[in-house]
Amino acid sequence: MNDIAYNNAVDQYADGVYRFIVKNIRNEEDARDIVQTAFEKLWVNRSSVEPLKVKSYLFTIAYHQMIDHIRKEKKYSITDNFEGAIIDPIYQPQHQLKQTILKAINELNPTQKSLILLKDYEGYNYQEIGEIMNLSESQVKVYLHRARLQLKDKLIHLQKVSA
């Protein structure tokens, strides 16, 4: 991978990686830092990264960076995260149902959230998600299905409450 291919990867995947991270941690600056780190690592290892694996490589690095970041954040304070969730401009509701879904998604743990984001946003299959998140294909399937059913139940419950 030369610098041209690398810069093409920046153009192609920077938005996707950033979206994946910022939806998870809901902090734009931290998300940018994680994306930057991911691309730095890609640049350093550009000779060993296969051209077809560049995207999943970026997501893998970004995911693990994000997990580290979340662990650090938890150590410092839980309230910070909570406040961030309220102020977060990305989660501005467009309509009621979406707001409800997003609220429910935000209550999921990082793994579940990542599974949904990688599936729905990036369209990765179970195997690819497993590679990125260091999980087996069956684990991906089980965790993702559990998350979806959890969301569905919440949505139904909220709809019943509001109705």
Binding site: N2, D3, Y6, N7, V10, D11, A14, D15, V17, Y18, R19, V22, K23, R32, V35, Q36, F39, W43, I90, L97, I101, A104, I105, I116, L117, K119, D120, Y121, G123, N125, Y126, K141, L144, H145, R148, L149, L151, K152, L155, I156
Partner: protein, 270 residues
């Protein structure tokens, strides 16, 4: 594959996750068509799916990297580049400088030689005449400093002219012979001095106007009279000598270049 009330939810989840084959998808569609009460489950699951939204990473250019920039930033990478190219680059660099020096030297030499040639051509035409002029001072020295040295010449002249011992007469004969016999011109050159010397004393009608005139005028006169023969003789000499000189100089250049290239070769071998 069989869909039933027990396993249908998993298949719905695989359905929305797009993890089913075309035939499996068709089976799910058929099952939902047959059991419309489960269609709501699919709708609920689809409702909690996230619709991809575009979130842009602003200022992507900040992530761009370039190999050259990296070479400047990363000292390790720079070192590898230097190592890769240094051995050959150094030799090439030296070669280039040597070649440059050599070419400059060659051009300079050529110019010098060329200019000399150009300057020499008219000069040598003059020196044809001046060849006498240059000899004249020598002869002058002879005559002024050492008298005995003049005497043999006189004797020679006398022998040529006949048995005359008087310088004036000798001059007369020399003047006459010199005009008539241009071959003896070179021999007569020293005698011109005598002529000059004697000219001051003598009143020779033929030699006096030429002898009494300045030194510069003397060769000119002779030149006019002996131009044809002298140019032929001298031209040959000059022409040949010039080539010889040029050849030597070029040999010198080639030798120097050869030495430089040999040095390079030895450096390479080292």
């Amino acid at each position: 594959m069989e869909l039933n009330k027990e396993n249908y939810e998993e298949y719905l989840l695989l359905y929305i996750d797009n993890e089913l084959s075309a035939s499996q998808k068709a089976a799910v569609d058929a099952f939902l068509a047959a059991n419309p009460n489960y269609a709501q489950d699919l709708k609920d699951l689809q409702a909690v799916q996230l619709n991809p939204e575009t979130i842009e990473y602003t200022d992507k250019t900040s992530l761009y990297r370039f190999d050259e920039m990296n070479a400047l930033l990363d000292p390790g990478f720079k070192k590898t580049l230097y190592k890769k190219n240094s051995s050959s680059a150094k030799i090439i660099g030296l070669k280039k400088t040597y070649i440059a020096y050599a070419s400059i030297a060659a051009v300079a030499l050529w110019l010098v030689v060329g200019s000399r040639q150009l300057l020499q051509e008219p000069k040598q035409l003059v020196t044809e005449g001046l060849s006498t002029a240059t000899i004249i001072p020598k002869a002058k020295d002879y005559t002024n400093n050492s008298v005995p040295s003049v005497h043999p010449v006189e004797r020679q002249m006398n022998s040529n002219a006949g048995t005359m011992n008087e310088p004036i007469k000798a001059i007369e004969t020399i003047a006459s012979t010199s005009f008539t016999e241009p071959v003896r011109y070179t021999e007569q050159i020293p005698t011109i001095e005598i002529e000059e010397k004697a000219g001051e004393i003598s009143t020779n009608p033929i030699s006096s106007p030429a002898i009494n005139s300045s030194l510069a005028a003397e060769p000119k006169q002779e030149k006019e009279s002996f131009e044809e023969i002298n140019t032929e003789d001298n031209d040959r000499v000059i022409y040949i000598s010039n080539i010889e000189l040029d050849g030597d100089k070029f040999r010198g250049i080639t030798r120097r270049l050869g030495v430089l290239f040999k040095r390079n070769k030895t450096e390479k071998n080292k």
